[in-house]
Assembly symmetry: C2
């Protein structure tokens, strides 16, 4: 009982900071996504593949990398030519709004219309922590099984988009893409679902077009209101 | 600072209960493993494949299934003919010693020399929670990438064995088994490493033989000491 009260307090403090982050990003016309997945679902490789397309469409975007330890992923993103900020969480299994508030001045300095936050690889805890993003995006690897939306419903419920990644592996597994879609939509009927493969490049253009349209729509509305 | 003190208190309470669990299991000669992995690394399918071999060698074993929601995995294990207890954690991203203490009377009633605990799919938080097991076993799917030991070191460090699963997928990915082994051993040089595929059956016999030998050794030492 005591622990539940503590948890509620932590989450309500987090939500207050997330609210401030969201306000700061909106004021500057920055569209923010929070990418969540199990370890190894392919978030970093996806960002690498998205990079040339997004640079072409948007000119500029920035990335915040959340990891328990090290900077392996941030080095990969920087090598792709994208400004990146590493947040090392130590033992914490998720990014929180406080982490993002610390990185916020850096993020705004990048003058990018799109900020991609790559969360720690964890399909459970990030579902509860609002970072101030415009949308959570769950990445599910086809190698993980089509039952995952039913087993980890909170993150599918909290997300606006689902990327079914590594679809090139589906024929080598029991993964049924239609069943995965149906399971995900049973949890959250308004999910926008994309299917991608970083090996074949399939679906990356469509996902980037969606992201770019959201980013440009926000920029447009901010310029108009100024 | 306050949160760190709370966390230390929760972990020290957990450790005290884990100590009691370990004592109760040891007294009854039950060898206990705590299987940890990302969502979708194949823990349940692995247990299904292990079942006929372990039933043949040990006659009997039992399973505790940890899940956020539902009983999909427990139904699969029960269908394979193994006594199984479902623990539903709700929002909790890991099993704790308290969960196992509740299931302990059931586990001892099964009169099984081996208890397999399948933890919630999460490569981060279960590393910190001792359940009273004899060994933690990390399952890493080849589809997750060979860099995972470097990115999630705590669970590799806390484990006695590593199962590299879905090795049939390795040729379809950039996964390098030797690099995965080297990365894991760099974190924990005493890891026992097994390579398995539930599709081809490769490696399951070797892993079961290891598990059976540990189980029988414990049973032998308990009978002798009585």
């Amino acid at each position: 009982m005591h622990d539940i009260l503590i948890e509620e307090k932590i989450l309500s403090e987090n939500d207050a900071i997330a609210h401030e982050n969201r306000h700061a990003f909106a004021e500057r016309g920055v569209f923010v996504i929070n990418m969540v997945s199990s370890p190894g679902a392919g978030k970093t490789t996806l960002i690498e593949r998205m990079t040339p397309i997004l640079l072409d469409t948007l000119g500029r975007f920035a990335v915040i990398e959340g990891d328990l330890e090290g900077d392996l992923d941030a080095v990969r993103i920087a090598r792709a030519g994208v400004p990146v900020k590493q947040i090392t969480t130590g033992k914490a299994c998720h990014l929180d709004a406080h982490n993002i508030a610390h990185a916020l001045p850096w993020a705004l300095e990048q003058d990018a219309g799109l900020l991609i936050i790559e969360n720690v690889g964890n399909m459970v805890c990030p579902a509860e922590y609002d970072l101030g993003e415009d949308m959570k995006v769950t990445v599910l690897s086809a190698a993980e099984g089509d039952d995952k939306p039913l087993k980890y419903p909170a993150i599918f419920d909290a997300s606006s988009a689902l990327i079914i990644n590594k679809i090139d592996l589906a024929p080598h597994t029991d993964f049924d893409i239609e069943r995965a879609r149906a399971n995900a939509l049973a949890i959250n009927p308004s999910l926008q679902i994309f299917e991608t493969s970083c090996r074949t490049g399939e679906g990356i253009e469509q996902w980037c077009a969606f992201l770019a349209s959201k980013t440009l729509a926000l920029r447009g509305s901010v310029s108009t209101s100024r």
